[in-house]
């Protein structure tokens, strides 16, 4: 009977001492009120482990809440085992198993304390409360929980549910027909599972890009630009059909991956290797194996000449200037002469002149019949070089959506703005300093496509 009571106490309140249960009851009551205020089902307050996770969501600290959930679950299991041993197997109390579990419980307690502090700091920020509340939250969590839960004076800044709502329902419902040449993208959705929840990262993106076009990819922070590019190049697959020059990128990825050059934002090269060796290795990796050594070397020389790297061919990569590193990074992908060339902020860290030079080189590549897609945060100084623009925006549910795809002039007309930076400001959320009109343009573009 004693064992059953103790186990029940642990299962419901994480403890079986009377004063512990009283404190837990206070906490549950407080959570009940706070969950209601944050739009979370208050009944979660009754469920051990989960109530702390839900509380973390109310505090805007969901990632920490996940870790805390796992730690709480482990602690619960260990508490149960130790309680059963304590009640049922007295002789086992000093055993190695008990000692090991106790040591592990202590380690978990330390981790739990750290994450508890993080979440409490989050809840204090979320309620715009004074810093001293933090101490109450840390040591007598139940008390501030009850005060904040039932006093109308204390209100959270954001509803917890806002953080995980489903995507905006307005969809274009239009697919683009696959073309023999160029890039066709029909992306239904790109989702990710996080802590048993399905999250929509991208949804309803359809477009066709002609060969020889240089395309600007615009979007605010977190709009899913890099996710979109990774979905297009097949590295992170989405529920989509993407074809390049008639070839299915997802279906024939192993064959098609050499058709796509992806230049990441950072210069991901080994600093202690020379420019020539870096390019030579890239050529051996990316070029067909039946290409003669003479032709391969000629290609390396040609690429070095195109990107102005010949004078520094013997230098270590780490000794190059920022612009040279960017050019080398692009040259690594260009060496295989891909049909689709994707660049993630190639001009970051470069001054205006160097950025312009780089973009002109990309224009030159596009003029060779390639498709070049570029993400840049300073588009207006080089906007004349681009043919089209893709505008991605976070809808009200934080899913990346297509707000526009078309020529630069059409974009200006569609958004009623003259510069690309103004367009970005229009679709950015208000808390990011924007106009918060993303949903409006997403819906408008979907309707345009549908029409």
């Amino acid at each position: 009977m004693e064992a059953v009571l103790k186990v029940l106490g642990i299962l419901l309140f994480d403890t079986y001492s009377w004063h512990g249960i009283a404190l837990a009851a206070l906490l549950i009551a407080g959570y009940w009120g706070m969950f209601k205020k944050s739009g979370v089902d208050p009944r979660w307050a009754l469920v051990p482990c989960v109530r702390d996770y839900m509380f973390s969501k109310c505090a805007g600290r969901e990632p920490e809440g996940r870790v805390l959930f796992i730690i709480n679950a482990l602690t619960l299991v260990m508490d149960l085992i130790l309680t059963i041993i304590e009640v049922k197997f007295e002789e086992e109390q000093g055993s190695t198993l008990v000692l090991a579990l106790s040591a592990l419980a202590f380690v978990l307690l330390i981790v739990k304390a750290v994450y508890h502090i993080r979440i409490c700091s989050g809840i204090v920020q979320m309620y715009h409360a004074n810093g001293w509340w933090m101490w109450l939250w840390l040591f007598i969590t139940g008390l501030p929980a009850v005060i904040w839960g039932f006093n109308p004076k204390y209100q959270p800044e954001i509803q917890a549910e806002d953080l995980t709502r489903m995507s905006l329902d307005t969809l274009s419902g239009v697919s683009v027909a696959g073309m023999k040449d160029g890039l066709t993208v029909n992306l239904e959705e790109r989702t990710a599972k996080e802590f048993f929840q399905k999250k929509y990262l991208l949804r309803d993106i359809h477009m066709y890009i002609k060969p020889g076009h240089m395309v600007l990819l615009l979007g605010g922070s977190g709009a899913g630009k890099t996710t979109f590019l990774n979905a297009v190049n097949g590295y992170e697959k989405a529920k989509a059909k993407v074809t390049l020059n008639g070839g299915d990128i997802y279906g024939e990825y192993k064959k098609m991956q050499y058709e796509i050059g992806f230049v990441p934002q950072q210069e991901l090269m080994r600093g202690k290797d020379t420019v020539y060796r870096t390019l030579t290795d890239a050529s051996r990796l990316r070029l067909p194996r039946d290409l003669s050594r003479k032709d391969r070397r000629a290609r390396v020389e040609e690429v070095m000449r195109i990107f102005g790297l010949t004078p520094v061919r013997g230098n270590l990569v780490e000794k190059l200037s920022g612009g040279q590193k960017k050019r080398l990074s692009i040259a690594l992908e260009f060496i295989s002469n891909p049909s689709l060339f994707i660049l993630d902020e190639p001009d970051s860290g470069l001054d205006g002149v160097m950025a312009r030079e780089l973009m002109e080189q990309l224009r030159m590549i596009a003029d060779q019949g390639k498709i070049v897609i570029v993400i840049t945060h300073t588009p207006d100084r080089v906007i004349d070089l681009f043919d089209d623009v893709i505008v991605l925006a976070k809808d009200s549910n934080r899913t990346g959506r297509l707000a526009f795809f078309g020529s630069i002039e059409e974009a200006r007309s569609f958004f009623g703005k003259q510069t690309m930076e103004q367009i970005v400001m229009t679709i950015n959320r208000r808390e990011e300093g924007g106009e918060g009109r993303a949903d409006e343009f997403i819906t408008k573009y979907a309707e345009v496509q549908h029409a």
Binding site: G246, R277, L285, L287
Partner: protein, 489 residues
Amino acid sequence: MHNNQATANKSGHLVHIRHRGRGPQVIIYLGKLLRMFLYQNDWKVLPMAAIIAALVSMVIKKDFFLTMEGELKGSFALTCVAIWNGCFNSIQVICRERSILKREHRAGLHISSYVASHMIYQALLCLVQSGITIYVLIIMGVKIPMDKGLITISTAVDLTITVFLVSFASDMLSLLISAIAHSTTTAMTIMPFVLIFQLVFSGGIFNLPAWSEQISHYTISSYGLKCFAAQSDYNNSPMVTLWNTLVKMKSSEIGGTYTVGQVLDLLEDKDNGVMTELRSREIDATFTVGELWDVLASSETVNGILDRKIDASMTVGEILTVLRTDENCASFRDINLGFGTVGELLKILDEELEGTELKELQIGRDFTLREALELFKVEDGTSKYRDISVGRTFTLGDLIDAIITNPDIQARRDQPFTLKITVGQLIDLIGEDTLKEYVQSKTAQISHIDAYEKNVGNVVNYWLVFIFFAMLYALLSVIVLEFIDKDRR
């Protein structure tokens, strides 16, 4: 300029152009790693290995390959050196270029080729480090035998192979950690735990509780220690700790109040190795008739009966018979000479003189025993008998048994006596060489471990285990890295 790699043919299907496969990619990355060795200062691990070996040799050179304790200490130290070298060779190699690897994987790099190139490169590095380590140990004076090895041409080569395999297995373990960790900070945080785990659960230095002994079967260090101990012939080396402790205690005084019974029990103890050895020692107790007479003449007890008249008609043999059988002479016969009683000596003398002229010699007049003794001592006519050799050789065990069975001594079992003796005196009493040999061999016998037995089977088994560990970790590295595209950006 070449054409694109995958192009559509007339029917619209893609024509696949083949790129370099796994083998050639290994060559490409091996070249890259060798350049990194020069430019990225990876070469520094070589002098580092020499420094570590030199430091360790200062500690182990005194008794490695000489004593059991030295073998264990040296084996543990060598295992630590090998694991340390291996772990630090590769702990950062993947995580520091994880983003680069991800990019190259996206460009067509096979993960298996990447790991294989690291395996080859790290194997070369470990091999050179192992050679350096053994070379430094030799020049620093560690007494590595230069004889033919158990498996190869030399023990030093055998040891180099073991150091290499332990290093390589550890290297691959670190490679796995480097593949799992997403940053160098994470890898370097995990590293100490792995090292501590390996060293604590090696099972040689620390006494592990029974439940944790199973864990040691999954550590490289455990097999490393066993392999080095087997190669250094641990089981056939002397164990010196106890003897050295005794020598250090030579001036320490031991003793106390004991009873005669305690001493007798000690002498009787058949299971006591020292006593068994002592009992088997032979004592030469042969003597001449002259020597016997001299002893008798100088004995105070004999002097008590010296003036007893002896019948002139008696021969020497008859006198002996009287001395052996007469009740009045019983206490005389019971005199213990240390190697036997007078009675036993008289019996031996009687038997030895049997058939000799001396036994039939008529004394000729009434005289006392004193006069008889004097006669044998001084008269020329009797001097020829003085040189007759009598007696026998017996063991110390016989003597001990005589003491133990003596009823007088047994009657005094409860009699206390105070003993004061130093350990050194005790050692001298037993015999330093005897005791040293006994103590060292006995403790070595107790410390015998089958897993440390020097034989080809053991060593080859351990080598195979290292290779298995290395391959397993490399395979796991490949599996882990195959998920690199799932990394969060």
